[in-house]
C-alpha cells in the first residue's frame, strides 16, 4: 500500500523563525521539508505515512488576514494532494489554536481531506471548533509534545484510512458532543462505587455524562375563544391507520405520519392501531381513541365547546426517539398546522 501523504501546518515559533516579533510571517509552503514537531510525527508514522510538505504561517499574520491566509493555505494544501492534514499541536497558544482550528476546519470541510489538530482544553480554539473537529487534548505547553504526538499520530492515520473513530476517552480527542460507545475495563456498578468513594472523600472525579443545558419550553398563553378554535390532535403514542402504511418504527422513529380523519366520528380497532413498541398495545388497539381522543373531540365539537377538530392529525412513536428527531418532526408539522390555521393542538403521549 502506498504511504499516506501528509501536509503539516505549524506557526513561526515551531518553525524556529522567531517568537512574537516574527508573528507577522506570511504563509509559506515548504515542499519536502519536515520541520520542528514534524520530525516527531514522521517518527511516529514510521512506514505508514510521510510528511510531503510543511506550511508555516505567523500567528498574527493568520489572524489579522484570516480570509486571505485561509485561501492561500488551502491552495497550498490542494497543490500537494495529501491524504491527511495535521495542524499544530497548538497547546495553550491562543492565536495558534484559532489558526489551527480554522485551517483544519477548512481543509476538512472545503477540501474534504481528513484533518486533525491538537490543543490544550482551555485554548480558545477548543470552544470554537471542538464540536466540528477532532482536536486531540494536549498539555498546556510544548513540554507535552511527545505525549501529544503519541495520541495524534495514530488517530490521524485512522482518519486517513477512514476507519471508525472510537470514543473520546479512548482516542484522546476533546469530546465533540457526539456520544460514542466503547467497552470500559470495569463494569458500570464498580465504576459507580469508585466514583462515589471519590465523591465522599471530596476527591476529584470525572462524570461520564456531563448534564446538558436543558431545553425548557414555556407554555403558550391560553386560547381565548375555544368555541371558534380549530383544534388539532398530535400524538407520540403511535396511532396509525391499520397496517402502519408509513412504516413508523416501534422505537427510535425516523419519521412521522400525517393522516386524514375528516368524517371520522371515532377511531375503531378495525381501522386504527398503534405502532408504538414501548407499551402493552392491547388497550390502545382495542380502542385507539384512548390514545388519540377523536371521539371526545367530536363530542366537544358537537357541543360547541371547540370550533372544529382539524381534519389531519400527526402521529409518531415517542419510544426511544431522539430528542433531535422529535424536534425536527415538530418544526416541520408545526408549519403545516400554521398554514392550515390551526389555533390549538392537543398533544397526547403514552
Amino acid at each position: 500500500m502506498a504511504k499516506i501523504k501528509v501536509v503539516h501546518y505549524i506557526n513561526q515559533f515551531f518553525a524556529q523563525i522567531g517568537g512574537e516579533e516574527k508573528a507577522d510571517y506570511p504563509a509559506e509552503l515548504r515542499v519536502g521539508e519536515i520541520i520542528g514537531p514534524g520530525s516527531a510525527f514522521a517518527a511516529a508514522f514510521g512506514d505508514e505515512a510521510e510528511i510531503v510538505a510543511t506550511i508555516v504561517c505567523g500567528d498574527s499574520y493568520f489572524n489579522e488576514n484570516i480570509d486571505k491566509a485561509k485561501a492561500d493555505i488551502l491552495e497550498m494544501v490542494k497543490s500537494q494532494k495529501p491524504d491527511l492534514f495535521i495542524a499544530g499541536p497548538a497547546f495553550n497558544a491562543g492565536r495558534y489554536g484559532v489558526a489551527c482550528g480554522t485551517i483544519t476546519d477548512a481543509v476538512l470541510n472545503e477540501l474534504g481531506i481528513p484533518a486533525l489538530t491538537g490543543m490544550y482544553e482551555e485554548n480558545p480554539g477548543v470552544d470554537m471548533f471542538a464540536s466540528k473537529l477532532y482536536i486531540v487534548s494536549t498539555k498546556n505547553s510544548a513540554a507535552g509534545m511527545r505525549a501529544a504526538v503519541k495520541k495524534m499520530a495514530p488517530l490521524a492515520l485512522k482518519l486517513a484510512r477512514h476507519e471508525k473513530i472510537g470514543a473520546s476517552v479512548v482516542e484522546g480527542y476533546i469530546p465533540t458532543g457526539v456520544r460514542v460507545n466503547f467497552f470500559e475495563k470495569e463494569r458500570g456498578a464498580k465504576r459507580a462505587v469508585d466514583m462515589l468513594l471519590k465523591k465522599l472523600a471530596d476527591k476529584p472525579f470525572v462524570t461520564e455524562y456531563p448534564m446538558p443545558n436543558f431545553d425548557r419550553v414555556a407554555p403558550n398563553p391560553a386560547v381565548k375563544d375555544m368555541a371558534h378554535a380549530r383544534v388539532a390532535l398530535v400524538t407520540s403514542g403511535g396511532i396509525v391507520p391499520k397496517g402502519n402504511p408509513d412504516h413508523i418504527e416501534s422505537s427510535s422513529a425516523s419519521h412521522y405520519g400525517e393522516y386524514n380523519i375528516a368524517g371520522v366520528e371515532a377511531l375503531s380497532s378495525a381501522t386504527y392501531e398503534t405502532a408504538h413498541g414501548g407499551y402493552d398495545p392491547v388497550y390502545a388497539n382495542d380502542d385507539p381513541n384512548r390514545v388519540l381522543p377523536v371521539d371526545a373531540l367530536r363530542q366537544l365539537e358537537k357541543e360547541g365547546v371547540i370550533g372544529k377538530l382539524h381534519e389531519k392529525y400527526y402521529s409518531t412513536v415517542g419510544n426511544g426517539t431522539a430528542v433531535a428527531s422529535a424536534k425536527a418532526f415538530a418544526a416541520e408539522f408545526s408549519q403545516k398546522l400554521l398554514e392550515d390555521h390551526v389555533d390549538a393542538v392537543i398533544l397526547t403521549s403514552t
Binding site: A167, S168, V169, V170, P175, G177, V178, R179, V180, N181, F182, F183, E184, K185, E186, R187, G188, A189, K190, R191, A192, V193, M195, L196, L197, K199, L200, F205, T207, E208, Y209, P210, M211, P212, N213, F214, D215, H247, E249, S250, S251, S252, S254, G277, G278, Y279, D280, P281, V282, Y283, G318, N319, G320, T321, A322, V323, A324, S325
Partner: protein, 426 residues
Amino acid sequence: MKLELGKIYIKDIKFDDSQRIEDGVLYVSKEELTKIALSDDHLASAEFDIAKPGESVRITPVKDVIEPRVKVEGSGGVFPGWIAKVDTVGSGKTYALKGMAVVTAGPIVGFQEGVIDMTGPGADYTPFSKTINLVMVCKPVEGLKQHAYEKAVRLAGFRVAAAIGELARSLEPDETVVYETCTIKEGLQKYPDLPRVAYVHMLQSQGLLHDTYVYGVDAKQILPTIVSPTETFDGAIVSGNCVSACDKNPTYVHQNNPVVEELFKQHGKTINFVCHILTNENVFLADKERSSFFTAKICKMLDLDGVIISEEGFGNPDTDLIMNCKKITAEGIKTVIITDEYAGRDGKSQSLADAHASADAVVTAGNANEVVILPKLDKVIGTLDYINKIAGASEETLREDGSLEVEIQVITGATSEVGFGCLSAR
C-alpha cells in the same frame, strides 16, 4: 443479616430421562420440564433447547433470564410470593447454579422482547452469551391477551428455574461467598468512622408490561421501602418486564445485582453499606413526587452520607431519576447515578429526557441507539417473525443476506443501568 451464597459451577447441560447434577453437568428431562412449564393452562406449549457460548445461535424474542437457585438453610424460599410462600429471605444458606441460565422466550408482544446472540458482535453486548442457556419457548393458548401471556411465561420460568435449583440441594458448593449486613445500631458501633452508604434501586413500574415485583407485590403499588441487600439474592425482586430489552433488568440481574455486590466488597472497609432502598417509576406525576420525596426522606432518616441511584428504562423514568437525585442531594447526601443514553443513531441528540445540575456524577451504560450489524447465525431459537418490528429495529432490519441492522437496544442487557456490563459512552 448473614447469607452464605454457595456457588455450583455448571459446565454443561444435557437432556436426559433422569434429572440430576453430576460433576458439574446438569441433566434435565424435556418431559419433566414441559410438565412443570405447562402446569399453567394459559400455555399451550413449551419447547426446550440448549444454547452454549460460542455457538452460532440467536435467541429471540427473549422475555426473561433466570438463575436457578435453592434455599438450603434459613427462612423462606426462592422467589418469595411466587414460588415460595411469603417469608423474609436473605439469611441462611442459598446455592446458585453458576454459568447457566433459564431463558424464557415467546412472542408475547412481538416487538418488545430481546435478542441474545451466542457468538459474533452481538454476543459482546449481552451477558447471556457467556452462560449456557436452557431456553424455553412458550406459546399461549388461543385468544390469551398479552398481559396474561406475560404472567404465564414469567411464572413458568420461575417454576422451571426453582425445580432445577432444587437438584442442587444436597450438593457441596464449589465456592462460598458470605454476605453480612448489620442493623442500624450495630453498624454505628462497628463502623463509627465509615461513611454510611445505601443503594437506591429504581424498579421499572410504568405498567403495561413494564413491571417489577417485590415479594409478589407489583412495584407500582409500593411506597419506597428498605430491604436487606441480601434479600435480592434469593429472588425477592423479579422482572415482569417485556420491553426494550437493553436496559431492563431480567430476574437474573436482580439475583446477581452488581451494585449490591460491589457495595458489599467495600462494606466494612471504606463504607458502611446500610441498606438497599427500593423505589418505583410510576407514570403519574403525583406518584413520581411521592416516591422521590419518600426516598429522600428515608435517606435522611438513615443519616446516609452517600447513595448510588440506578434507573431502569429510559424517557419517562429519566424524570424519576432526576427527581431522586435532586431531592436526595438537597438533603446533603452525595449521589452517583447510573443510567444509559438515547442520543440518537448519530449520537448527537440529548441523551436523557431530563437533567439537573445535582446530577454531576453519572455512570453511563452507553448509547442504546447505536446501530450494529449482527451477522446471520446458523440457528434461531424462537422466531425471527417480529425482528423488523422489535424496539430498536426498522423495516430494513432483516437484510437480504440474513444479517440484522439494529440498534443495540434490541439486545438483552446491552446497556444495563445497574452496571452489569462494561459498555459506556463519551
